[in-house]
Symmetry: C2
Subunit: 514 residues, 2 copies
C-alpha cells in the first residue's frame, strides 16, 4: 500500500516508529506494535507501528529516526507492507516461558535491541523475565559478548590493562579519582570510563568534569592513556555497549537490574581490560546489604571475568556511610585533590589505596597497598593526576582552594548531644539532589561528622550548599524532616528512635548507576 | 521550571507523554520515563517524559492527549516539575519479586493503567510477571473487579441475564450467531458483546456486521435487548473494561495472555450476566491442546464466576478442525443464516444447540438441547434473528443468497486420493488472512471437505475467495505451500507425511482474541 510521508519532526527516543490512522491500519491488516516494511526508492527499513485515531488517510507519520534512515522528505511516497516479527521475539517469549536461551539466541536478541527491531515493551518483557528467573552464567557470558560485539571496542595494543569498578550506591565515593593516578604513577595503564549521575548526587564523570573535560572520543582516550597511562572519562557516548543503555532505559522505571554483571563486564571487555578490581560496598544503606550477598556477587564477577578472559578480584568494602565528607561534584573533586595532596580523610585514603593495592598485586607487585600509599605520600600520584588532567584538556595547576562550592549554605544542627549512630545514605543523596546536584556542580553536602563521632547539641552535623536560596531552603527542610544523621546515647541507653508526627508521603528512591 | 508549549499534533496511543531536550531534562534532574507534573493555569496533569537529543531549549513538546487534558495551545506557558512515581509502580515491582498483591494494590495498578499513570514498559513488566508467576484466584478476582470498576456497566434491571463466551482459536466458529437467537427465542435475555478479528479471519462482530450494524452504544444495547431479548454487538468501544484493552496492547506483541480469565469474566460482570456458558474448543489446533488442560481451565472459570456472583458452566468442544465449512465474514454470516433456516452443517448445529441447551438448563429448563433444536427447527430462532437484525438497524429480510462472497475464487485440489486426516486451523486462518479477511468481508475460504471425508485426486479440498487476483494468487500459493488439509490412506498405511523442499521462512502466528 502506498503512503505519503509526513515528517513528525520529533525523535522517538531512538526507536523506529511510524504512525498511521486506524482505518489505514485496518486495511493493511495490522495493529499497533506490528512491524511494517517501508520502502522508499532503493532504501528500506522495518519500523514499528503506532496507530492514531485521528490521522489523515493515506498518510504515514514518520518519526525522525525513520526519516533519517530512509532520507525521507515531507510528501515522499513510500510503499508499506506488513513485515514478519523478528525471530528474536520468539526467543524473548521462550525466556518468559522459563527456557534457557542459547548464546546464538541471546546474540540475536541483543542485536535486535540495538537495531531497534524490538520495541521497548518487548525489551521490558525480556528484562522482567531475566529479573525473575535470574541469569545462568552461560547466559551472562553470552549477553556480555553480544553487548561487546554490538558496540565499539578500544585497542591499546596488548599488555596489561588495569581497571577498577564500583557497583556504587554509596554517596561521596570519589575513590576512582585517587586509584587511577596511583595506578598510572606505578607505570600501568588504566583507561577508566565512568558514568554520570542519574539519581545520585554525583557520578565519577561528574566529579572528574570539575577538573577536566570527560567527553573524550575513543581515539582521544587511546592517545591520552598511551601518553600518561590513565584517564577518567565519561563512557556514555563511547558506544561501548549500546545495548546496555537500551536495557537500562527499561530497567530504570522498574527499579530492577538483572543485567548488572554483563553490563559491567561487557564494558570492561570492550576497553580491553585484563585485570579488574570490583568494589562491592556493603551495608544496610548500600546496594548490597549483607556480607553473604556480597560474597555471592563477588564469585559471580570472578567467574564471569574468567569466562571473558579478564582476571577479576573483588573488594567488599564498608558501605554504611558516605566515603569521606564531601558529596557533590565540586566538593568531591576538592576532597579528592586534597587526598592526593596528603590531606584526605582516612576512610577515603584507606579505601583508595586498598583497591589500588589489590590491582598492583594482581599484576605481580608485592605489598600493593604499601606501594599505593607510598605513591600517594611521595606526591607522585598527585603529579600523575595533574598529567591526566592536562592530557584530557583541563588545568593541571588546579588547587583544592580553586574549587569553590556554591556560595549559599546552611547547617543542619544536632538536636541533642551524643554519638553519631547512623548516617542514612539514601537520605543524604536525596538531600543533595534537592540542593541541586549533580547539575549544579557546586551544590552538595559537607558532612561534619562520621559514624561514632561525638557531638554536642547545636553543633553542625552537615553543611548544605546550593545555588539558590529556594533550593537551599528545600534541602534544609528535607534534611530536618528526614534526620539523615542519627545522634543518640550508646545503643540501648535511650529507646526512642524517632517521633512520628502525622502522615508523610512515602518516598522511594532507586539508584541504578554503573 | 517554565516551558513554552509546542503541540506535536499527534497522538501517543492514549498515553500522556511530553518531550523535552536533554539539557532541559538535565537541569530538571529527570531522565526518560520519569514523571512530570505539568501545571497550566488551574489545570494540572502528570505526564511521562520522553527526552529528545535535538529539541529547542525551554520548549515542552506535548502529544495530543496531554494537550487535550490541559486545553493547551501552541506557545502556552506551563510550569513543569518532577513528580513522584505512582505508588502502584512499587506494587508492579513487588509482583516482579514474586509477592502476592492485595486486592487494594491490584485495584490501584488497574486504576493507574486506565489513567495512563503507568507507561507501556511498566504495564509490560506487570503482565510478564503475571505470565511467569500465574494468577492466584484472589488476584484474578481482584483484577476482574478492578477492571469492572474502572469501566462502564450495563443495567438491564434485574432478572437472569444469559451469556455465552468462546475462548476462541478455531476458524469458522459462527456459533454465537445461532445461540443468541435461540436463547432470545426461548424468552431469555442475552446481550452478547463480541470482538473483531485481530489476527483471525473473522471475529463474531465482523460476522454480525455483515447482517447489521454492531457498533451500538450502551443505551442502544439496553434498548435492543429489552425489546427483542438479544443482541450481537461489538464490545470494543463500550469501555466495559478499558484496562483490558491496555493490557492486550502489551500482551499482543509478546503473544502471552495471563489475563485470560479476568479479561473475559470482567466483561461478563460488566454487562450484568448471571448465567454464562464458556466454550473451550480443545484440540491440537486450538488454544487448549488437551482435555486435561481444558478441565483445569473450566474449573478456574467456574470458581472465578462464583467469586463474581456469576453462575458458569463450561463446554469442552471439538477444536481439531474449523466449525462448519465457511471462513470469512460474509461466508460465515451466510452459513449461520442457513443453519438458522434448517440447512446448517451438522457440527455447527450440534455445537450451537448444545451450548444453548446448557444455558437453558442453567436457568431451569429441562431437555435444553432438545428445546434448542426445536426452536431452530420451528423457524422461531430464525424469526428472532431477523428481529435482532432489525433492532440493530440491519435488513431483516436478508436471505443467505443475498450474501455474496468475493467474485474471484480458486480451488485447492487434492493431490491424491484418500481420506482427510487433518485440517490445520492455523494454516487455514493464515490463508484466509492472506486472501483478505477480515477487512475484505467477502474474502475467505469454503472448505469442501471435513475430517474423515473421502476425496479423489483432483477434487477440490477448499475454495479460496478474494477481492483481487493478487490476493487470490498469494493465498493459493500459500495454501499450496502449507497444504493445510492432509489427505492420505488410513493412518499407518503410508508413512510419509510431507516432503520438505529447501528452507522456508519460519512462520508463527498467535491469536489473542476474546
Amino acid at each position: 500500500m502506498r503512503f505519503s510521508v509526513r515528517l513528525l519532526e520529533i525523535e522517538a527516543g531512538g526507536n523506529l516508529i511510524v504512525v498511521m490512522g486506524s482505518r489505514d491500519a485496518e486495511r493493511l491488516g495490522v495493529v499497533s506494535s506490528d512491524r511494517l516494511r517501508i520502502e522508499a526508492e532503493d532504501r528500506e527499513a522495518v519500523a514499528i507501528l503506532n496507530i492514531a485515531e485521528e490521522f489523515p488517510s493515506g498518510v504515514l507519520g514518520v518519526y525522525r529516526e525513520v526519516a533519517e534512515r530512509l532520507s525521507l522528505s515531507d510528501g515522499d511516497v513510500v510503499e508499506v507492507e506488513p513485515a514478519e516479527r523478528p525471530e528474536s521475539l520468539s526467543y524473548v517469549r521462550r525466556k518468559i516461558m522459563g527456557e534457557k536461551l542459547s548464546p546464538g539466541e541471546i546474540e540475536q536478541i541483543v542485536e535486535d535491541v540495538v537495531e531497534r527491531h524490538l520495541s521497548d515493551v518487548e525489551v521490558a518483557a525480556f528484562v522482567t523475565a531475566l529479573e525473575i528467573y535470574g541469569l545462568s552464567m552461560e547466559e551472562a557470558e553470552a549477553l556480555s559478548l553480544a553487548m561487546v560485539k554490538t558496540g565499539r571496542t578500544l585497542d591499546f595494543g596488548g599488555g596489561p590493562i588495569l581497571d577498577k569498578h564500583s557497583i556504587g550506591g554509596v554517596p561521596g565515593d570519589k575513590t576512582t579519582l585517587i586509584v587511577v593516578p596511583i595506578i598510572a604513577a606505578a607505570g600501568y595503564r588504566i583507561p577508566k570510563t565512568s558514568s554520570r549521575a542519574i539519581t545520585s548526587p554525583a557520578g565519577t564523570a561528574d566529579r572528574m568534569e570539575v577538573l577536566a573535560p570527560v567527553a573524550l572520543k575513543a581515539d582521544e582516550i587511546v592517545e591520552v592513556v598511551n601518553k600518561v597511562g590513565g584517564c577518567i572519562v565519561w563512557g556514555g557516548a563511547l558506544d561501548l555497549a549500546p545495548a546496555d543503555d537500551l536495557f537500562i532505559r527499561v530497567e530504570y522505571p522498574l527499579a530492577i537490574d538483572p543485567l548488572l554483571l554483563p553490563s559491567i563486564m561487557s564494558k570492561k571487555r570492550a576497553v580491553g581490560s585484563t585485570h579488574v578490581v570490583v568494589d562491592i560496598p556493603t551495608g544496610r544503606g548500600a546496594k548490597v546489604k549483607t556480607i553473604g550477598q556480597a560474597h555471592a556477587l563477588a564469585m559471580d564477577f570472578i567467574e564471569l571475568g574468567g569466562r571473558l578472559g579478564i582476571e577479576v578480584e573483588c573488594a567488599i568494602t564498608e558501605g554504611e556511610q558516605p566515603i569521606g565528607y564531601a558529596i557533590g561534584p565540586i566538593l568531591e573533586a576538592r576532597e579528592a585533590l586534597e587526598a592526593l595532596g596528603g590531606r584526605g580523610p582516612e576512610d577515603l585514603v584507606d579505601k583508595a589505596t586498598t583497591l589500588a593495592g589489590i590491582l598492583l598485586e594482581m599484576v605481580g607487585e608485592t605489598n600493593g597497598k604499601e606501594m599505593a600509599l607510598e605513591l600517594l605520600r611521595s606526591g607522585r600520584a598527585l603529579e600523575k593526576m595533574r598529567e591526566i588532567i592536562e592530557a584530557q584538556g583541563g588545568d593541571p595547576e588546579v588547587e583544592p582552594e580553586d574549587l569553590e562550592p556554591s556560595r549559599r549554605w546552611a547547617d543542619l544542627e544536632a538536636e541533642e548531644e551524643g554519638r553519631v549512630l547512623w548516617i542514612n545514605n539514601h537520605h543524604i543523596a536525596e538531600i543533595a539532589r534537592i540542593a541541586g546536584t549533580p547539575s549544579d556542580k557546586g551544590a552538595g553536602i559537607m558532612l561534619r561528622v562520621k559514624l561514632g563521632d561525638h557531638v554536642k547539641r547545636g553543633e553542625p552535623l552537615m553543611r548544605i550548599y546550593a545555588e539558590s536560596s529556594k533550593r537551599l531552603e528545600e534541602a534544609l527542610e528535607l534534611a530536618e524532616e528526614l534526620q539523615p544523621i542519627g545522634v543518640g546515647g550508646r545503643r540501648g541507653e535511650r529507646m526512642l528512635i524517632a517521633k512520628v508526627k502525622g502522615l508523610k508521603p512515602h518516598r522511594r528512591r532507586f539508584i541504578l548507576e554503573r
